[in-house]
Amino acid sequence: MNQNYPITIYQEPDLPRSSLVLGWSEDAGDLGRKVTDYLNLKLNGQEFAEVDPEDFFPMGGVAIKDNIARFPESKFYACPEHELAILRTDSPLAEWYKFLNSVLDVAERHCRVRELYVLGAMISFSAHTAPRQLIAVVNSTEMKEVLTQDDLNRDMDYQTQPGERPTLNSFLLWLARERNIPGVSVWVLIPFYLAAMEDPQAQRKVLSFLSERLGLRIDFSDLDQEIGEQNEQLAVARSRFPQIDDYINRLESNLVLSREENGELVKKIEEFLGEGD
């Protein structure tokens, strides 16, 4: 590993120009991992590089998730025929500036990236039956002008609240702007009771946006089937458990549940959907 450039390139990608899509592995609804995996599967993404982890993650042991030992990964994939680079990565826990600059170094030097798409999931207090909303935050007004999708909220106002910190998406967009790389942070709203699981409808929303924007022409029939199956499961949960139905009905009527009710809904949905695994 080069001390100043913590990247291993396995194979130089054939990307004379490209867009980079970045997904975080541990997003709400497992969004970043699922979307980047889906793109890699459909577009035959080939791994070509990774960020070496030791500067950015504690090396004091391994985390275990769903019975399996995990090790932090930050892997780049190339889809040359679609002029697309994909990065699926764990969120760094230290040296954020160095990590994000390393990502942008790969993007510039090896992928000649012209646009950056950073994915993110936000928790929503809407029901799963409501359409997923998409929000774009851009790092330049020029980028905003080219995002013309009808169902995209491009006018969000936000500032960090006391006790909070900006997201890595904002940090990366800001660094990209310093390098004159136009970038957009694409946020999808995920119902809170699906946040700890998967939300194929949210994945579909983001993937549709990317497909349209980048001209990927992906066939989403398998994902649509998955959405249908999850909706059916949730309908069964509502019919079997009046309490779940009551909570979701109230969310559908734009009513607010108490903190305890939110917690109970999450628990019951997770238990029910977990049984199907």
Partner: protein, 303 residues
């Protein structure tokens, strides 16, 4: 990464006073209050990106307008024949959830601060922080002074309301100063600057509370202004102290009677030299600290 200077003031022989946040924010409140009173002028900063995670973002109409990082700024003031450079670090560059900076980043930050000191020919460096002490919150805090060379001891002894580590019972002249307020003292020594760290006392039972302790900042500022030969009006700190003391009293009344009884005895602690027996024995001191720690642990577990 480095230092950005907006202007290069012509200074002959300035004193550098530096501080970062710490327990009770004692040092940084003292230093920043002095900077404010003297209306020192900002002239530079340490670039923050490699040291800090951003602290604020502003997004307007979907466009990321700016990202703000914790600041590390330099100020200067000429005052008659005196020249002072202030350095105020808004945060310590910590990693992995630690409270204080340590390791490579802390060392680099200290080095950069001293690069500026060297550039402007500083002859003396002061840092400031907190000293956790077995005192009561109604008592006037003393200032523990740690120099980085033996030649400064005689000067410190003339400050008033100030003690050296060897004056503190049970310390034997030893101790640690955690974080950058301490590290700068050591790096200054390595680079040949004379330096003194002034630490205001904070009661042991207040060290874990998210409260500033301006009473100790005032003690530090009294010593600092005397040492610098600068007269300052400390009314602002008195006002702040009154507000904080009210909150401390409210908290104090929540402490179980038995422990509070022990703590009340601290009101009668007379500052002692090591050879003199104090009104509280060493064993009793130990018990007070243990009881207080138990109380906070229990309180923390209870959420």
């Amino acid at each position: 990464m480095g230092i950005r200077l907006r202007q290069e003031p012509q200074l002959e022989n300035p004193t550098l006073i530096a501080s970062w946040p710490g327990i009770g924010n004692i040092g940084i409140i003292a230093v920043d209050t002095l900077r404010g009173i003297l209306e020192a002028e900002e002239f530079g900063e340490i670039e923050p990106w490699e040291f800090f995670y951003p602290k604020r973002v502003l997004i307007r109409k979907g466009v990321l307008e700016y990202l703000e990082f914790p600041s590390s700024k330099f100020y200067f003031k000429r005052l008659g024949g005196k020249e002072i450079i202030f350095f105020i670090g808004e945060e310590q560059p910590t990693e992995g959830g630690r409270m204080y900076a340590e390791g490579e980043k802390a060392y680099r930050m200290a080095d950069l601060v001293l690069d500026v000191a060297e550039k402007f020919k500083c002859h003396r460096v002061y840092t400031s922080g907190a000293a956790v002490a077995l005192i009561h919150h109604t008592a006037k805090p003393r200032v523990w002074a740690v120099p980085n060379s033996r030649g400064l001891v005689a000067e410190i002894r003339r400050y008033g309301n100030t003690v050296l580590m060897s004056d503190i019972e049970g310390r034997g002249g030893h101790g640690n100063i955690t974080g950058l307020n301490g590290l700068l003292l050591g790096v200054a020594k390595k680079r040949g600057f004379e330096a003194i760290c002034l630490m205001g006392e904070i009661p042991v039972y207040l060290q874990g509370l998210p409260l500033s302790y301006p009473k100790a900042s005032k003690s530090v500022l009294e010593v600092l202004s005397r040492s610098l030969g600068v007269e300052v009006d400390l009314d602002t700190l008195d006002e702040l102290d009154q507000k904080v003391q009210q909150r401390i009293e409210e908290f104090y009344q929540q402490i179980p009677l038995e422990i509070r009884g022990q703590l009340d005895r601290l009101k009668h602690v007379a500052y002692t030299q090591p050879a003199e027996p104090g009104p509280i024995t060493e064993e009793e001191e130990k018990k007070i600290v243990e009881d207080v720690e138990k109380f906070f642990k229990k309180r923390g577990e209870g959420g």
